[in-house]
């Protein structure tokens, strides 16, 4: 089945610095989703991107879908301690079955 590579695996940033996580696929994707999982919590859906070159913003979070629909990124501007957690990208296949990337664990140092 389809797979997606997510990098980096871990990222430590000073509060106020920016953060970016990337997802890459070898095949063209129909859509990509992003989730956030706080420590001790469960994944929470953030957004889905479906169009080539799409860019969406949620406050300090910017999501991009590549022109070729093979990669995506999540960028956080001026991180805060509330941004701590693991960010997953996910791709959907048949029956809306979703395959998750391995996640990027973000630690924000106050």
């Amino acid at each position: 089945g389809q797979q997606v590579m997510q990098i980096p695996q871990y990222q430590h940033v000073q509060e106020g610095e920016d953060f970016t996580t990337y997802c890459n696929s070898s095949t063209t994707l129909s859509n990509i989703q992003w989730y956030k999982q706080r420590p001790g919590g469960h994944p929470v859906f953030l957004i889905q991107l479906v169009k080539s070159g799409e860019v969406k913003k949620q406050k300090r979070l910017t999501f991009q879908f590549g022109e070729a629909k093979k990669n995506s990124s999540l960028h956080i501007t001026a991180t805060q301690t509330t941004d701590v957690g693991t960010y997953f990208c996910a791709i959907s296949g048949g029956y809306q079955k979703v395959t998750f990337g391995t996640g990027t664990k973000l630690q924000v140092i106050p």
């Binding site: 089945g1 129909s30 859509n31 989703q33 989730y35 919590g41 469960h42 994944p43 929470v44 859906f45 953030l46 957004i47 889905q48 991107l49 479906v50 997953f88 996910a90 959907s92 029956y95 809306q96 079955k97 979703v98 395959t99 998750f100 990337g101 391995t102 996640g103």
Partner: protein
């Protein structure tokens, strides 16, 4: 507030026991899923269901079975629990249309199962 509710937050079972993990959603979602989450391995799909009484194997179905007798309830069954099934189990549900920009999974809070 829409919810996916998992019956237990923590569970300890003995090797060889039959274990039932229950999941209920109140969003009238057609699709329901069971994942397990392990450090370094991420979220792996065990089974999913896109309709009542329908089930499909995910990536790691061995040692598990599922039951969906009602739309709102999806049960995961460990036929004979083993120590390598110690994990966090997450249930999720969704509407069918992956093309909808607002489409996404809603997860339950998870059940941390320890098999001793």
């Amino acid at each position: 507030d829409v919810k996916v509710t998992q019956s237990s937050r923590y569970l300890v079972k003995r090797t060889g026991e039959k274990v039932f993990l229950e999941c209920v959603q109140d969003m009238d979602h057609e699709n329901m899923f069971w994942y397990r989450q392990d450090p370094g391995l991420g979220l792996r799909l065990i089974y999913f269901s896109y309709d009542v009484k329908m089930k499909e194997k995910g990536d790691i179905p061995e040692g598990y079975s599922v039951s969906r007798e009602k739309k709102e309830r999806f049960s995961l069954i460990l036929e004979s629990a083993s120590t390598n099934q110690t994990s966090m189990y997450l249930c999720a549900s969704s509407f069918p249309s992956a093309g909808d920009p607002n489409y996404g999974y809603t997860f339950g809070s998870g059940t941390r199962l320890t098999v001793v």
